[in-house]
């Protein structure tokens, strides 16, 4: 049975995202305490797949995951999952907002619901929790052991955790920014998913030296081939002050000729290029343009091959 390690504990947004994938939901799901632990488990084969938040997350920052993938592990992204992130005020059945005196909350989640808490629960004590899931879990334990007294404690948590720990949602979608979404990736030690015609490729580019314009040259490679970038970030390499690498998401798959060709040129001209994966893109971008570009590239390939066949031995 496929084993999937994910950033736990059960009931986090990461598990919520994982459960949206029907083919993964039935696997053996293993909660692990940190992004680093998940990536290590995937690298060592302890799990077949690791599942972690990578961008704009409420449970952690993209920087941690991204830096770990770029600098510490050798893993290929297999899939990306993007979900809307909604915070819930959860509590024991019967508890109403007006009676809440204490709120258990992961500090990050507290931060995301600052406005709701200030307006609706200005006098409630906010008690920190380890994670969104733990807030619900602890609340369920407290409520269970409250001996019939009137419970006045709620938690900020996820819909999944409420279900998991037998709580009800008192107020839903209480986050300040309702259109918040988080991107998760599934990673494995080897293997690249076959192209679907609707893929994304992630790479990290290490330049030869920090001279002005080197990024300009890197981007020229994409622009020269009409390859769309969907994300770009400079990150310090931690080797020397002012030494940067560039982490780039682009539309297309290493199996596409035009992308392979671009990666080849980047690799030939840079100090290093780390391949982070080619995988089906979430969302609805890119395939049409890509097909046309491929077409032109193929006819160019025939042209060059024909020329080269005329070279005298």
């Amino acid at each position: 049975m496929t084993r999937i390690g994910y950033l736990g504990p059960p009931g986090t947004f990461t598990e919520e995202a994982l459960l949206t994938q029907s083919d993964l939901a039935s696997a053996d799901l293993v909660p692990l305490p940190s992004v680093g632990d998940v990536l290590s488990a995937a690298g060592s084969g302890q799990v077949d797949l690791g599942f972690v938040p990578i961008e704009n997350s409420i449970e952690g920052t993209q920087t941690t995951t991204l830096d770990a993938l770029v600098f510490e592990h050798d893993l290929f992204i297999q899939r990306e999952v993007v979900i809307s992130v909604h915070m819930q005020l959860v509590g024991p059945a019967g508890l109403e907002v007006g009676r809440v005196q204490r709120v258990l909350a992961f500090p990050f989640a507290e931060n995301q619901c600052r406005r709701f808490l200030a307006e609706r629960l200005p006098h409630a004590e906010i008690v920190p929790a380890h994670s969104n899931a733990e807030a619900a879990q602890r609340l369920a334990e407290e409520a269970g052991g409250s001996g019939g007294g009137v419970p006045d404690t709620a938690a900020v948590s996820t819909a999944l955790a409420a279900e998991l720990y037998g709580l009800t949602v008192i107020e839903s979608d209480i986050e300040d920014h309702p259109d918040n979404s988080t991107r998760f990736v599934a990673v494995a030690a080897s293997g690249i998913p076959a192209p679907t015609g609707h893929d994304r490729t992630s790479i990290a580019c290490f330049q030869k030296s920090d001279h002005p314009g080197s990024l300009h040259g890197i981007l020229g490679q994409f622009s020269a081939r009409s390859i769309n970038l969907t994300n770009l970030q400079s990150r310090p390499t931690k080797k020397a002050l002012g030494d940067y690498c560039f982490i780039i998401d682009l539309e297309g798959h290493v199996g596409d000729e035009v992308v392979a060709d671009c990666l080849r040129d980047l690799h030939a001209s840079l100090k290093d290029v780390k391949f982070l994966g080619s995988y089906p893109a979430a969302g609805h971008h890119g395939p049409a343009i890509r097909r046309e570009v491929q077409e032109a590239w193929r006819s160019a390939d025939v042209w060059v091959a024909d020329l080269r066949s005329q070279i005298r031995p």
Copy 2:
């Protein structure tokens, strides 16, 4: 007296960073509960200066601050401060590591010290706190009220908080990544510091449409003028899926002709450019190159002016 709002509570790394600035340390320091609160206070004039973490922080993510500066406020960065971030295990005088049974910790800090906690305190209960500073503060309260019993609780916190709350450092620099540093910025509603010859400028570039190569064109403007970039990030604008802006730090000051000239061209060719500030650069980069570039630019300016003086009326 100058009022400075900062991301509180007292004892955080943000306050530590603020106190490294001798001219700011003696101001009226106002702790505020969130980055958004600090930026709003600076925007409304409630404080003269706001002070917040912006990059790679242990107390929050750069994304929050950066997005707020770009999309929600109109503030100019006045100064940047970069400090090394070190976590401390603190406790009441006399407590030794071997006897610690409980540890109060801000979940983010717990994350940063995962290895130390696993190796040295594998059996200790980790109790979440709201912030690094609150962990120390709460510990001091508990210890104060412990009535002579033997205290066995420590906290993960900052050196400043230990001092503030009368605790001692039991183990210092317990973070997993010792070379972690955080960048903070001071922002104000108006005014740009005079050029020092050693400055950084931050801008956000909004492209006309998401066509491939637009970032390539933007970077061409810097590369054409030998202007070094020290940071670059694409960020979704939240207006439409796939609509990105680029947040760029560059070496130089809007008061430098060559930078002004570059900003002018960017502004003329893009949908919008938001100016986030020109301010003295932390660290030791840039001034030599800059001078030479300025020199060449000035002589070019004389050349063009001389040509234009020959235009017949």
Copy 3:
């Protein structure tokens, strides 16, 4: 009275082109024997204006004139004139094509009319002349001194020369490539014509060293500002093998802010830029785009000026 030196002798295409300019036609026209002589006369002030072919000419190559303007003289182009070039078979009144036994022709013109001569006059002897005009002039002298005998000699020449020397056009437009046109320039030692909103600027760019991509950088300056190029040529500098300069015609006038700005950046980043002139463009290109670009540039200029006014002293 204005003195204009031009590439003689009288009756050449150069004079034809000069006479299309009503304000120049009435000046004191001085035929000179070579392009070098015309440029020297203009440089020394011996004439107020020099008039020479510069591109695709039938009387000489652009290379000679272009190289002389770039490497040997310091002159500004004042005007360009583009005319269609048509060759005429001319002869004494009454001479018919069928009876022509000899044809006087400047070798270059002979080259241009190769097909006509082969098809219509396959048996005629071709006698070389010094220039198109001299062919007509010599024919007129021969015919005048022929003592009543039946003339059987024609000349390949210009319509102007036929008129000048009392000859008639026997066959008109006998050139192989009917859509041939030649570009002429008027040059002076100083002064730049005022912008008309429909101008061209010519420059020569000398790069710092022959490293790959330097031209790419040069063109980036134009492309970054949406400035159209209408001509571009690499030319060896004759200083060292492989040392090139680039001669560029662009749309716009040094009096336009966006062009001045571009020239400034080129001058600041290259070894040298030689300004060859800003002058009204022949033909119907460019003004609309230019206006829009100017608009954007001006609003950008206001933006930068406003920012800079906020710099603290």
Copy 4:
């Protein structure tokens, strides 16, 4: 026996250049009257090889040859030959400069020796000839038929023509610009010479439309691959006013992976690319850089191939 058509008549610089090639010198050399005739003969197979001046020639302009190769014929350049061009004052044995009264000269050569003629033979009559070779040939005929009288006529011609027609060189290297050199090419209807590690490739690039920056994009392809350009020219396509193509010489051979790769991308992104040939470069440029670039490209190719082998079926 190999037949080689060349721009005649015998004794021209073109023949001089041809005879520097030991393997071609013994072929069946066929003088033809024009560049167009040579190219047509090569295209139709009437000759195996055509040999014509292409750049900076004294007998014609590069533009003619270049335009013919680009727009009218489908030929591949097989070889380039660059020779220094020196003009000679030639005459019958015994004639001294002081006694020369008439000089036969091809007008182009007259132009090249203007200074010598003005200073040393200010009173001599200049009589135009069809070509450098014909000047010598005609002089030899005149001298042969002069019936013992004292000859006072010289010719401006080539050393080869002097030898061919039994004349002596009276004054050697009389050209104004002593470092003048001309480039010739040998062209054939098919076949590309094998790479030598020291090659040049010539192409013509046709852009999709005349939008600013298209050349910038084209050059980005070379610059992105560290491919040196040795010549570049914009040429009007004669299809529409303002419709240009770019004729480019670059270092390397279509058989080099990095060049093939570049041509493929150009072909895929442009309206058309015409391949004019890959052939051994005259002179001493390029091979070292090329090898290193090839090396990097090959290792990049292995990297991409390895990645692609991991794609799941």
